[in-house]
Structures are given as C-alpha cells and as structure tokens.
C-alpha cells in the first residue's frame, strides 16, 4: 500500500509549463433550417481542448496557434473542420447528415473519427441513447450492436447483465468484456468470493451503478485492433462508457422523468387446480390429507383453489427522475446530475431503488494544463427476497419454483409449514423473508492533462471505485428455510476497492498531404481488492425485530467468514496510428501486462496488434461514383489476454473447519486445504483476425458494415475438473484451445426522408460459431461446478469439436409401452403373438407390480443400465445399438449459443412525432429446462403442470410424452432431449411514441426542448419455450442455456417527459 502514496506524490511533482495562445469566436448555423445551433462540439484538433456552442449558436475557444484546426461536430450533422489561420471570427454553416462518418468515437486511451477507425467498433451514440427511454443499460444495448449479445441474468429488478461479444472465447468463469467507465477499467470477475449462502457476495454489476441518462456514448470494441490496447483483459471485448461532460455556455438544465407500470409475463403456466391436485394426490395414495377416514377420496371441490401465480405476480410501478445541470466558461465546465429510480418487481416484495449523483468538472488551470475530474456516487437498494435460486430445492427453492409447485388447495391451515417439503405457502414466504442488498458505490477519476509541446500531451490520472456492499438475510421460523433452524439472520459486508494509476503521452502531427500520425505511450498500474466478512446466527429467541434480530440468536453459524482477495496489474502500452493521405490507415499497438496472479517469469505477457484500413472511396477511381459515399476495407490482427482467475490460484490456500470433542462440548478448530496450487500458470491468449467492410451509399442513406472474424484462444485458463480423490473440484490450469468464427452484418438505412416524414431502419444480425479445439489430452469434461449437481447432472459438456457448454445427454424416445414387453402378449398355438387389450394390459401391469415381479423386454427393445425397465419408464435411444442404454449412449443434444441473433429497429419521424419499434431476436439456441425436475417430482406434496400430468404415461392412458410419475427411478434427473427445448424467440423489446413540442411553443414557454413519450417494453414475444421467458442467461458460462425457474422479464409501459431549460 505504500506504493500508492509514492505514486501519488510522484504524479504531483510534474512541472507545469505554459505556452502562448489565441482566442477565436464564431456562430454556427444549421444548413437545413438556418437556425442557430446549440450544443455543437468544437474541438481543437488533436487535443482535448474544446467547447460547445451556446444557446445563440455562439462559441469561443482559445486555441494554441494559427495552425490549429477546429473540428465542429454535432449529432446529425457532418463534422466540419476549419483552419484558424489569422481569422478570429467565424460564421459556420453545418450540413446535416443522417449518418455521420466523422462522428468522434472513443477508442482506447483516446478518440478517433469514425472514418479513421481501423478496428471493429460498435457504438451507441448520444442520439441512439437519447431516443431510447429505459432504466437499464441492458435494455439500452440489447440487440442494437452487431456481435454483441446482451441478456440480463433474470427479470428481477436490479439483476446483473451478461454481455458476450463475439461468443465465449474462454472456458473459465470470465467471458464478460472489460468495462471502461469514464476511464476506470472494471472487470466484473474481479469481485470474487462468497460467504455462507451468498451472504457477503461482493459481486457488483458496475453498470447498475450508473444512471442511464448520464451516459453520453457507449462504444463496444470487438476486434483485436481495438481491444489489444487493453491487452490483458481485451479478449472478451471492451465496453467503453462515457458520461456527459460539461459544456461552455449558460447553465443548461435538463429534467426528465418517467412513470410506468410492469405487468406479469405474457404466459401463464398451467398447473393443476385444487380438485385436480387432490385427485392426483389421492391416486398417489400418499397423504391422509387427501383421503377420508374410511380411505375414500376426500373432495376438495368446495375448497378454495389457489393459483399462486395470481397471488404472487402483481402490477408493479416504476418511476425515474433525473436532473442534469451543465454549463461553464472557457476555463471551467461542469455537469452535475442527480438521479433517482425506483422499480418494483412483478413479484410481491421485490424492488430495486437507485440514487445516483454525478459531477463532471473540467478546469483549465493553465493554458496548457487541464484538470478533469469525475465523481459518481450511487446507492442501490435491492430487496430481493424472491431471488430465484438455482441451488435450492424444496424449502430452499426460489419463489418462482414455489409459486408453481406449492399445493393449490387448502388442506388445513394453509400457512402451516408443509410437512413434506418444509415450505410455507409462497405468499407467506415472500412476505416474511427478508433479503436485501445495499450497495454504496463511489467512482472517481482525477486526471491532469498537460500539453508538453504543440503535438505532445501528457495525461495522468488516478481513478478508482469503492463499493460497499451490505447483504442482510432473515429467514424467520415461520417459513420453510428458517423452520428447522428456528430462524436465521445473516449479514455480510463486502468492500470492493480498486484504483488505477494511468499515464499516457499522446503525440499528434498532421502533414500537408492530409497524412497524419497519432501515437500513444503509457504506463498504468492497477490494484483490486475484495474483502468479505459475514456472520450468520440462528435459533432466534425473539424474532420480533425481524432482520435486526441477530442479537437475539443463540447460535452462531461457524466458521465465520473473513476473506480478502487482492490482485495487481502493471502495464506498458503503446500505439501508433498513421493515416497516409487519409486513404491508408495503419494502426499498430503493443501492450505488456504483468499480473500478480501468475508466478515468476509468467507474470508478464505481450499483446501486439496491427490493423490496416483502406478508404477506397477516396481513391480517384471511385471519386466519380457518386452513389458510393463511403467504402472502407479493414483488416486487423492482434493478441489479447485473459487473467480472470481468482487471486491466489497459485497458492495452496487453507481454510478453517471445526470439530467438537467430548460429545460436542469442546470446540476445536481445524484446518484443511481448500485449493490445490496451480502449476506454472500463465496468461490465456487470444489471437484474432478480423476483416471488415464499411459501405455507405446514396449520400450515406444506406450504410452497411460487414465484419468477419476468427478468434483463436489458447492456453485456456480452465477450471480443470480433477478427481475428488485430490480433494477439490478443480485446479486452475492452462489447457487447450477454442476458436470462434463469426460474421456480423449491420445495415442502417434511411428509407424515406422528406420534409414531413422520415423512416429509418437499423438492422443487425450476427452469427458466431464456437468450437473447442483441444483440451490438453482430455476429450471432454462436464461443467458442473456452479449449480446444483443433483438436478440434471452432467448436462453440460466441454467437448472437443463442440461448442463450449454444449448440452449433453440421452436421446429421449418416449416411454416404454406395453408393446415393449413380452408380458403383454397373448400367443396362440402357432406361437403368433398378439398384444392384449389396453384394459388387460393395465390389469396385468398392476398384477405384476403387485406381485413384485419384473417385466420381460421384447426382443430388440433396448434395456436400461442400472434399472429394470417396465412400462411407463423413460426410454432412451440406444445409440450404439448394443441393446443396453447406458452412459455410452449420450451425445450432444443442444447448444446454448444462438445460431443467429440481433435486432431490428425502425424509427419514424413525422412533424413533431417520433416512433421507434425495436425487435430483438435469437435463433437456433436451446434451453435446458431444469424446471422440469421439480415440476415432475413424484410422491411429493407439490404441484405439477397440467401438461406433465395430462401427457404422462398412466396404466390406462399410456401416453408417450412424459414417463409415469409413479416410477421410482429418478429418471427425471437424467439429462435428455426431453428437457431440451428450442430457445429461439422474437421479442418486441421496445415500442416508443414521442412528441416534441414545436419550437414556437417552446420559445413561448421559454424552454429549449420538451419531449413527451410513451414507451412499452417486452410487450410481445414469439417463442415456443414452455416456461415464462426464453431470454435466459445462467450465471455459469459453461451452462448458459440452463433455466431453472428464472425470474421472467416484466412487460413494462412507461410514460415520461424530458424538459430542457
């Protein structure tokens, strides 16, 4: 820690030198309606010096010299460049353009014009963001950028999101991109460690800490040319989020608000009603509750029948407020924002609240020295008692499972703990359980920019993030999970802290022939630490204080958790961009990263990249082709790395356990090894080849971007499963390789544009093929580590030649029928066999079952290893044809990743109205519906779906869809095609109608702008998936397609307005 201060003091010792300057002023007019333009960005080219035009379209900027070039940019307008020369006043007319090639986009450690890009970068500009009203960044990004697959992990308010850029290039726990938020590099995987029952989990979604309306732009770096500058963490792509900065001019106040409601999902899952259920339970002959004293069926026809879905789903309310004040002078620019958002979940007692505050302040200290500061504060509060858990069963299950499986009929006291499942009714569960997660997050960035020479800038910054996470859980004794412990109260604190010290030199020079050179050289240091402390206590004497009753608990749950994970990263980076005559664009970069997670000589690795782009439309032979406004060819190659393994993977770490001697009177603490030190670990490396083409036609009314790539990842950092003889589930190892091949197409087109009406379409589609090439001598291994290993064990495999996390299992062929057994045939004297009638079969089936005899399979019918086959049992395909179905008869039966995915947006504008319709789709992916296990569970006082009940085999109605529920063979737990479903969907993700007040009314109201809108989200979905929501993302990257009672996405309707003063 000493180093931190050393660096800080060193940083502050840099000397500051001033140089001569000149001030220029001007006014900017729009070519289309001759109005004065507010908010145009004026940048002194090659520097970070810039301003924004004020309400009268005027600007004033101090430039370095007469040679300076001013770049004027505004959304929807062509960027204009002017040489300052000896003039000091300018009158600039800006031409509008629907697609702006000269838009400035952020690249790693700098900015670049879109037309100058050599790498594959997808971006959401301010315009895209402003037109889209949402409270979630995932909603903002999902389906909008080619090659970027965004899913939120569930529909629960405050749930994290999962982003895959060009498929999963890693097999370990981290396939998420690196986030760079206002210059702070944040990897989600840096938060590791979980204490008892998830209490004290330090995982924080960095995106949840940002008020979406603070975002100015989002850039997604996809190919190695773009990401290699982030070296070690660029392999999964980089998402760069830039927030709104200050602008010169009088304070501009923007207030926006929205109110709305969320509704339960489109689909209701049909389960048995009270009468059907009690009939079913009686047939099982299980419980005295369902029969009278004399053994006859007890009728529940007069009792209330509950559909718990109606009781638990609700109409939930949402409101958002955001206030933004920005302005400044030439020297000082500021942007201050405050936001508050409150989202109720569509299930009772679930909500997410967020308060954010942000200050962006830029101060010119000297003419060549700028101070830029950013400070973001966020406080989120998630009330997540309904967390849909993947690990629990019965009483520990998530509420979605309970909602569907709790008995629908009142068999006595409905709120009584159910004796078989230990669960209270789900309404009670939800209302009484407390689980909250509160995060206080501070993000800061303080940067000094110093202009050393005309063309050389130095920038140094200290940035960081400090998250305090507090989790509280209370399981009262009145509900299942707390019953046996007589109440349990747990609380955990996590502190996630990171800082980054980044220093870069930027060199810029342009030549008279339009050639220019741009170079970056840098040195960075980063430190991440996560601390988790938690305590849990049970047997609560007095529960009246609810989640505050821990002091009244009589037993502490041991051992107590205290974990600190810390890792560091040190990097050197450099990049040269050379633009030859504005036609041939070259980029080369090199980064060297050293990570504390590796040992000895393996600490450092090198990540070079190179790229070339050719702006063919600048060539003389295309200059005449006036239909082609832009044609650019891009090629890139580069290496990136991945080091997302837990800290201390190279150490034989130990942990505390305990034993009680003397019959439990004497506590002794013991130790055990919890991790086997990895051997000689090194960086996981990805090499990526990308080639792309950008085509703009008809004066940029049609823009097409097509990219194809090949990613090859080797030295995979793999949680390699090891035999339990070794005492651990896995050892982190560098093993094997995977490839991702893909193609991405995005089309932006202005279909109709005239004075009255405009229709634009944005379409993108992506395909990625992921393939495991090598696993270091192993053919395959199962991905079982992070979910309940007892529900469909070994359902996901990492197998050579298949995609990562392919679904694996048996091929379900329906149910063994009477005809499959010799017992149900009559034979005549000639030995001819005829099948008995259904009634005879059923009678004989019952008789054989009663006498405990077994059934004889007919010749040619495959038997099943481990069990004696009988009618009604699940039948699987005998793939190797050896007459017995065993583990050898498994194969890949599904894929988690889609064949094609993307989105299509149509925007319509007429007079002051605008309409946006956005569809998201995914084609060709499978979902492993793990919910089936609980929904088909037999002999348990839990409900079933109507589908399973009606279509399962029964002696007198031998169906073929599902096995007989009374078969005690555990076959519901074997992964097979029975539970693999098509996960394709088309979803109307967003539909927005907006109205902007006409200018004349605005000026009468003394407003700059006022927009009203109504927006509907997720309102319609086309899918064949049998559960609520096909848009699922498991937390386990190796089991992405696994769905077990996920919290469905809400259908939301929002109305809002945005006022600019």
């Amino acid at each position: 820690m000493k180093n931190k201060y050393l660096i800080l003091s060193a940083m502050l010792t840099f000397s500051l030198i001033a140089t001569a300057q000149k001030t220029v002023r001007g006014v900017i007019i729009s070519s289309s309606d001759s109005t004065k333009m507010i908010g145009v960005t004026i940048l002194e080219k090659g520097t970070r010096n810039g301003t924004i035009s004020n309400i009268d379209g005027e600007f004033s900027i101090r430039v370095t010299s007469e040679k300076s070039v001013l770049t004027l940019s505004a959304i929807g307008y062509k960027t204009t460049e002017i040489l300052v020369g000896n003039r000091s006043r300018f009158h600039v007319v800006m031409e509008d353009e629907s697609y702006n090639l000269d838009e400035t986009v952020v690249i790693g450690y700098g900015t670049a014009k879109k037309s100058d890009l050599t790498g594959a970068v997808g971006s959401l500009s301010a315009k895209d963001i402003e037109n889209y009203q949402t409270t979630n960044i995932d909603n903002m990004m999902g389906g909008r950028i080619a090659g970027v697959n965004v899913t939120s992990s569930s529909g629960e308010p405050g749930a994290g999101i999962s982003i895959r850029i060009r498929g999963a290039s890693s097999v370990n726990s981290d396939v998420e991109p690196l986030y760079v938020i206002d210059g702070i590099p944040i990897s989600k995987s840096e938060s590791v460690g979980t204490a008892y029952g998830g209490i004290g989990n330090s995982s924080v979604d960095p995106l949840a800490m940002i008020n979406p309306s603070d975002i100015k732009s989002i850039e997604v770096f996809k190919d190695a040319s773009a990401t290699a500058i982030y070296g070690s963490r660029g392999a999964n792509g980089v998402v760069v989020i830039t927030t709104k900065g200050g602008q010169e001019g009088r304070p501009k106040i923007n207030y926006s608000t929205s109110f709305g409601a969320s509704f339960r999902p489109q689909k209701t899952i049909e389960v048995l009603d009270g009468v059907q259920f009690s009939d079913y339970m009686y047939l099982q002959g299980m419980y005295p509750l369902y029969q009278n004293e004399d053994g006859s069926k007890r009728s529940y026809a007069d009792s209330t029948s509950y559909n718990w879905q109606d009781k638990l789903f609700r109409t939930a309310f949402i409101q958002n407020h955001s206030l933004n004040v920005g302005g400044g002078t030439l020297q000082t620019k500021y942007n201050v924002s405050f936001g508050s958002s409150s989202t109720q979940g569509i299930i009772r007692n679930s909500s997410f609240e967020r308060l954010t505050g942000r200050i962006n302040l830029d101060q010119e200290i000297l003419s060549n020295l700028n101070l830029s500061t950013m400070f973001n504060f966020a406080n989120t509060f998630q009330n997540g008692s309904v967390v849909s858990s993947d690990t629990g069963t019965g009483s520990g299950a998530g509420v979605i499972q309970q909602m569907l499986t709790f008995r629908p009929v009142n068999t006595g006291a409905l709120d009584e703990i159910d004796s078989q499942t230990n669960s209270a009714n789900p309404v009670m569960y939800v209302d009484n359980m407390v689980k909250t997660n509160e995060v206080l997050s501070l993000q800061y960035n303080v940067a000094l920019m110093y202009k050393l020479l005309n063309m050389l800038n130095f920038r140094t910054s200290i940035s960081g993030m400090e998250n305090r996470i507090r989790t509280v859980e209370f399981l009262p004794s009145t509900i299942g999970p707390g019953y046996l412990m007589n109440g349990r109260n747990s609380r955990g604190n996590a502190i996630q802290s990171k800082w980054a010290f980044q220093n870069t030199f930027t060199y810029y020079k342009s030549f008279s022939d339009k050639s220019k050179i741009n170079a970056v050289l840098g040195f960075t240091m980063e430190n991440n630490s996560n601390r988790i402390e938690s305590v849990s206590a049970q047997n609560i004497v007095d529960e009246s204080l609810n989640e505050e009753s821990i002091s009244w608990a009589s037993e502490v749950v041991l051992p107590l958790t205290n974990q600190l994970y810390e890792n560091t990263l040190m990097s050197f980076l450099g990049r040269v961009q050379y633009y030859l005559r504005d036609k041939y664009l070259f980029t080369a970069s090199l980064r060297s990263d050293g990570s504390s997670k590796f040992t000895g000589n393996n600490k450092f690795s090198y990540f070079p990249s190179t790229a070339f782009a050719w702006r063919i439309n600048e060539e003389p032979f295309l200059k005449k082709a006036d239909k082609i406004s832009n044609l650019k060819l891009r090629m890139s190659y580069g290496r990136t790395g991945n080091q997302s393994i837990p800290a201390y993977s190279s150490q034989n770490a130990m942990s505390a356990v305990y034993y009680l001697f003397n019959g439990g009177d004497k506590l002794s603490l013991g130790s055990t090894r919890i991790r086997i030190a990895a051997d000689n670990l090194k960086w996981e490396t990805t090499e990526q080849l990308n080639s792309g083409i950008d085509l703009g036609m008809f004066n940029s009314r049609l823009n097409i971007t097509l990219d194809a790539y090949y990613k090859y990842t080797y030295d995979l950092l793999l949680n390699q499963p090891v035999t339990h003889i070794a005492g651990v589930d896995y050892i982190v190892s560098n093993i094997g390789s995977v490839s991702n091949k893909g193609i991405e197409l995005s089309i932006q087109s202005v279909n109709i544009r005239n004075r009255k009406f405009m229709w634009e379409t944005d379409f993108n589609i992506s395909h990625n093929k992921n393939k495991v090439l090598d696993l270091g001598g192993v053919e395959s291994f199962f991905a079982n580590s992070s979910y309940d290993p007892n529900i469909f064990p070994n359902a996901f495999i990492v197998k050579k030649g298949e995609s990562i996390g392919a679904m694996y299992g048996r091929v379900y062929e329906g149910v063994y029928q009477y005809a499959d057994f010799l017992d149900f045939y009559n034979s005549n004297d000639q030995g001819d066999m005829t099948l008995m009638s259904l009634e005879e079969c059923a009678a004989k089936y019952t008789a054989i079952s009663k006498s405990k005899g077994s059934f004889t399979l007919a010749p040619g019918v495959a038997s099943r290893a481990g069990v004696v086959a009988g009618p009604g049992m699940a039948k699987y395909k005998d793939l190797d044809g050896n007459g017995i179905v065993n583990d050898e008869d498994r194969k890949v039966i599904g894929r988690s990743d889609p064949l094609l995915y993307g989105g299509i947006t149509n925007n319509f504008t007429f007079s002051n109205f605008d309409i946006s319709v956005f569809f998201q789709y995914s084609i060709g992916n499978n979902i492993l519906n793990a919910s089936y296990a609980a929904l088909s569970m037999r002999y348990v006082n839990t409900n079933k779906t109507l589908d399973i009940w009606e279509n399962s085999w029964k002696p007198l109605s031998p169906g073929n869809r599902y096995p007989y529920m009374t078969e005690l063979e555990g076959n519901s737990l074997l992964p097979s095609t029975l539970v693999v479903e098509d996960g394709s969907y088309l979803r109307l993700k967003d539909f927005t109608i907006g109205y902007t007040l006409p200018k004349r009314i605005l000026s009468r109201l003394k407003l700059s702008n006022l927009r009203l809108y109504v927006s509907a989200q997720n309102i319609w979905t086309l899918t064949s998936y049998s559960m609520y929501d096909p848009e699922i993302a498991s937390n386990d990257p190796l089991a992405m397609g696994r769905d077990k009672f996920s919290f469905p996405r809400a259908r939301t309707i929002l109305g809002g307005l945005s006022i600019v003063l």
């Binding site: 660096i7 004796s419 240091m525 942990s655 034993y659 004497k666 651990v728 737990l973």
Partner: protein, 603 residues
C-alpha cells in the same frame, strides 16, 4: 527535450521502486500449506480437520449439496437402505429410495458424497502423515500420537471406501497439480487392506488406551484393535461366504481371493480374534459386557461405557455438526416435519425379536409424541422409529432440535467385538473341526444374549447350547420338525415365514433342503440374527448381509420401501432385484470420467 528525460527518469524510478513487490501476492486471510505443518500445533489443528470429515456435510473445495456426509448421514443410508432393517418412507427421498431398491445411479449423492468425503478425509490425514517429522526413533509424544490418530482415521476412511466400492486408489501423499493425473487406476482390494492394516497396527501400537487430552472422540489403541477385528472379519467372511461370481471379477478390484484362511499364523479369523482379545483386556475378560447395560449406549447418553469410537455430534454452533441419525430414525413427534423418513421394518423386527429382552424397547418405539409434546401410543407399525435415536420432544425443547440431532454416531462398540470374536471362533471351528472353538464362540454369543436378557427370565432369549448347534435333530427331519428348529434358531426374515401382528401369514418362503443343515450354517444364522437385534439402525446391516452372502436371499423376501403392515399402494411394491454385483455400490459417475473402472453392472 530535457523535459522528456525527466519524465522517463521518473518512469524508471517509479517502476523500479514498485515493480519488485507490486506484482507479488500475499493471501492475508488464507494460510498457505507451505507455511503450515511446521509446529506441533499446526499438526494438531490439521488433525482436527481430519476428524471433522467424519461428521461434516460440506467440503469447502467441493460442491456437493445435501445432507450426505460420511457419518452424518451417508454411512447411515449406505449401511441401512436396502436391508431387512429399515424402509424408506418419504417419497421425496428419491436417492434413498434408489439405494433401497438397488437402482442407485452413479450420478447420485449417496455415492458421490461418500466417495468425495471419504477421500477428503484421506487427504487431510495424508497431509499430516506425509509431513510429520516422525521416524522410527521418534519418542511417543504428541507428534507421534497425532500421526497415529491420523492413521486410524485414514484406515477408517479407506475401510469404508473399500467395503462400499471395492478396490480404490491407495493414495498416501497429498495430491498436487502435477501428481493427480497419475491417479487413474483403482488398486486391488488387497492393496487397500494392506494399507488399512498397516495404519491400524501403527495406531494400535502408538496410541494409549484412553483418549489424548481427555478429549472423548479421539482414536485410542482400543479403538484401533476393535477396528482391526472388524477389518479382518470382513475380509475373511467376504472370501468365505460372499461368493463373487468369477464372471464379474475385475482384476482384483472386487475380489477377496487373496485372503489367508488356510494358514494358522496368518488366518484372518485368527487375527480378528487376536485383536478382539486385545480389546477385551480393557474390559471384563471372561464376560466383557458384564455390568454394561444396553441402554447406556444410546440417547440421551453419549460415549457410553462400551463405546470404542464415536463420531461426536452436538446441537451447538450450527446445523453442520449435529449429525442426522435421530432425524431419519428417531421417534415421530410434534409434527411429521420431514423427520423419521427411514422407518424400522418394525413388524419384521417385532415378529422375530423376543419382546421381553431389554433391546426390544430401545429398538422399537411403538409410540410417538403429539403436538403438545405428550407421549402417545402408536399402534401403526409404519410410524415406528427407534427409541435409541429419540430426541427431546418435551414442549420446552426448541423447534430446531428435531432437525439437529445431537446423538453421536457409534462407529464401534464392545458388543460388536464380542460378536466378531464369536463369529471368527465359529468359522475357525468350521475350518479345523476343533470343538473348543465352537465352545468359545457359543460362550461369547451367550454373553451378548445374557446382557440383552437383562433381568428377564432365563427363558427369554435363552442361552445357546453347544449340543443344539451340533445336532438339533431328534428325528429324521420332517418339514414340521425343520420349521420347529428354525423357529428356535429365530428366523432370519426371508428364510422363514413372516407373520403380521394380526396373525395373518403374509408370506411364506419354502425351506430348501440343505439350509441350516450344518453346525456352521446354524451358527451363522444365529449370529446374523443376533447382530440385527443388537445393532439395528447402527449402519452395519448392509455390510453384514453382503459379507455373509445373505443379501439376495433375505431381500428377495422383503418389500422394499414399506413395511408389510403399512397401507401403501400395491403398485409401489417393487422387487429389489438384487443381483450378484450389488455387493458393491457404483463409483460416482464423475470419477469414472477420469478413467476409473466402474464396478461391474453399473455401466
């Protein structure tokens, strides 16, 4: 350009000042193995870790959900499900049902958890044994005792592994990232036994008869002798009576042909007896159980006078160290809250056991507690539990008590050593025809019966007469007379008819000629019955049925899952279909993926 130089200089200074240790890791909150195992205290702490695995359900580094720990619940399920002692009553207990009906899947927790947790125990012991600075000349002191205790535990873990799974890899060093890959083959059972016997011999020689530090629950020399007697008897009887068909033998990983029975100096029955004698030295030599009541072993007592080794459980601190035995087996009470899901095959026991003997009331609880905590009689046999695993159901007891049952798991107690002795003597008699062995065998059996009889009349559970064993027949042996003899011998269910409490004969098994027609067969029947009455619910039964070769015969006569007096749908009565290969359980599927050969019949 001078400015440049300054900055570069700054960079270089910064870099050299910080790079040295900036990228080094320091796991402040995790001790690392390399810094431990240095002081005696380190080893003491590690040893507690080795004990912990006896009763824990969780391994911090392995994801296995549920209750299945070694002695917390796993050994109970493996030792009792699928026998004539209990049935599984709760249908939510799919995995227990599958064990019970011999349809166990290699992916299921009972085998998954036992394998992982036994080996976790082994690896914790290995860390101690391989790192402890013990040489032949090391004095007996703490460090040597620590190693001896670790060896006892390792032997126990390996013994359980091998009798559940057959031959397993013999690992004696902690595995590392480099060495684990070398473990792909199962070792033969004989190799595992050599390791077990070496470890137990070491432990029996280096440990003291009483627990170290006066901490009950620690391994002692007496416990090591007792366990050795079981180990030798298990191997000897597996060879002698559990016929493993040659067509399912796999290169020594599931066969006992190597066991010595024909040599006097290393006869396994004789070695069993030698170790029993070493145990008896610490008790009354001529009548070891004299003065020790049956009930003193059980609830609410712990570590009773005949206890040799118990896994210590408690309700204190957390549910994770509470054990499970009272939960599935105990008396029903307050509400039927998921408890008592493994039920005694009570009527079966009821019909074969002498109701006047003292064990009966501890093994059959024909009552339950109502919601008010009052004891009420319960005539429905299917609800009967074991009073020896009772809980405190008084109204003042906290609700958490049923879920957390503080009873110790008795791994080894004196009565077993007595019966091991009696069985070995009887087998020696069979091998040598030396009547003195039979006499010693019957005498020791009568010691156990005498204790069980307690203060009842001598006609209750009468002493066995050696002449009766030799020749019970007075006539030529009509079916009627044979039946009479079998009733005297007390029937093993499945071998003779079973009568329900209402007097209706439920099923009748034809007596095959040749059954019980020799002295040793009669002795074996007597001993197997005695073991059931003595140890019901203590996790011995499945192993006893397997090693004596009775598994199939007995189970074919008993419904699984439900006792015969229970009113359950007929369709649920399925045959257990015991096959010869069922004498071993399947290796976990996760393990066979690493190349370990699966047991015959399970793949």
């Amino acid at each position: 350009m001078r400015q440049f130089k300054n900055i570069w200089l700054m960079f270089i200074i910064l870099f050299s000042a910080t790079a040295c240790d900036f990228l080094e890791e320091d796991p402040e909150t995790f001790p690392v193995v390399e810094n431990k195992y240095r002081t005696t205290k380190d080893f003491e702490i590690a040893l507690v870790g080795a004990y912990e695995m006896l009763g824990s359900t969780k391994i911090p580094s392995i994801n296995i959900s549920g209750d299945f720990g070694n002695y917390r619940y796993g050994m109970l399920v493996i030792g009792e499900c699928g026998t004539d002692e209990i049935c599984v009553k709760n249908f939510q207990r799919q995995e227990e049902l599958n064990v019970d009906s011999y349809a166990i899947y290699p992916t299921e927790r009972p085998v998954q958890a036992l394998w992982a947790m036994m080996y976790q125990g082994v690896s914790r012991c290995n860390a101690i044994i391989s790192k402890a600075p013990v040489t032949d000349t090391t004095e007996i002191g703490n460090i040597k005792s620590i190693v001896a205790e670790a060896k006892f535990l390792r032997a126990l873990y390996y013994f359980n592994l091998t009798r559940i799974f057959g031959g397993v890899p013999c690992i004696e060093e902690p595995l590392t990232a480099a060495t684990w890959k070398g473990v792909t083959k199962r070792d033969s059972i004989s190799k595992v036994y050599r390791l077990i016997i070496d470890d137990l011999n070491f432990a029996s020689q280096k440990l003291l008869p009483g627990p170290r530090n006066n901490e009950t629950g620690r391994a002692t020399s007496v416990a090591a002798f007792g366990l050795l007697s079981r180990v030798y008897l298990h191997a000897a009887s597996m060879k002698n009576t559990a016929n493993i068909p040659t067509d399912i033998q796999l290169n020594g990983v599931n066969s006992y042909e190597w066991v010595e029975l024909n040599r006097n100096d290393s006869n396994y029955y004789q070695l069993c007896i030698n170790n029993c004698d070493s145990v008896f030295k610490h008790f009354n030599l001529s009548d070891p159980l004299n003065g020790i009541s049956y009930s003193s072993n059980f609830w609410p007592n712990k570590n009773g006078p005949e206890s040799l080794f118990e896994v210590q459980f408690s309700t204190a601190y957390s549910v994770d160290v509470t054990g499970q035995i009272g939960n599935p087996f105990g008396v029903e009470g307050l509400s039927d809250n998921g408890r008592n899901w493994l039920r005694a095959l009570a009527s079966e026991y009821f019909n074969t056991c002498d109701k006047e003997e003292s064990r009966f009331k501890w093994n059959v609880a024909n009552y339950r507690y109502d919601a008010a905590g009052t004891k009420i009689s319960n005539t429905v046999a299917k609800y009967w539990g074991f009073i020896k695993y009772n809980n405190d159901f008084s109204i003042s007891a906290t609700r958490s008590t049923p879920g957390k049952t503080p009873q110790n798991w008795i791994v080894l107690r004196l009565a077993e050593v007595c019966l091991n002795y009696a069985e070995s003597k009887a087998e020696l008699y069979n091998l040598s025809n030396n009547l003195q062995y039979l006499d010693e065998s019957v005498t020791m059996l009568n010691c156990v019966r005498k204790r069980a009889r307690g203060s009842a009349l001598s006609s209750v559970l009468p002493n066995i007469d050696i002449a009766f064993i030799q020749n019970p027949l007075k006539t030529d042996g009509t079916q009627e007379e044979l039946n009479d003899i079998y009733k005297k011998l007390k029937p093993i269910s499945g071998i003779i008819s079973i009568v329900a409490p209402d007097g209706v004969e439920v099923q009748s098994i034809t007596i095959e000629p040749g059954e019980l027609d020799s002295p040793i067969k009669r002795m074996r029947a007597l001993l197997l019955n005695e073991r059931k009455w003595e140890f019901i619910g203590e996790g011995h039964r499945w192993f006893d049925l397997v090693r004596t070769g009775h598994l199939k015969k007995i189970l074919d006569g008993i419904d699984n899952m439900f006792d015969i007096a229970g009113a359950h749908p007929d369709e649920l009565k399925k045959p257990r279909n015991v096959k010869p290969y069922h004498i071993f359980r399947p290796l976990p599927a996760r393990e066979t993926e690493f190349g370990f050969e699966q047991n015959y019949g399970y793949n």
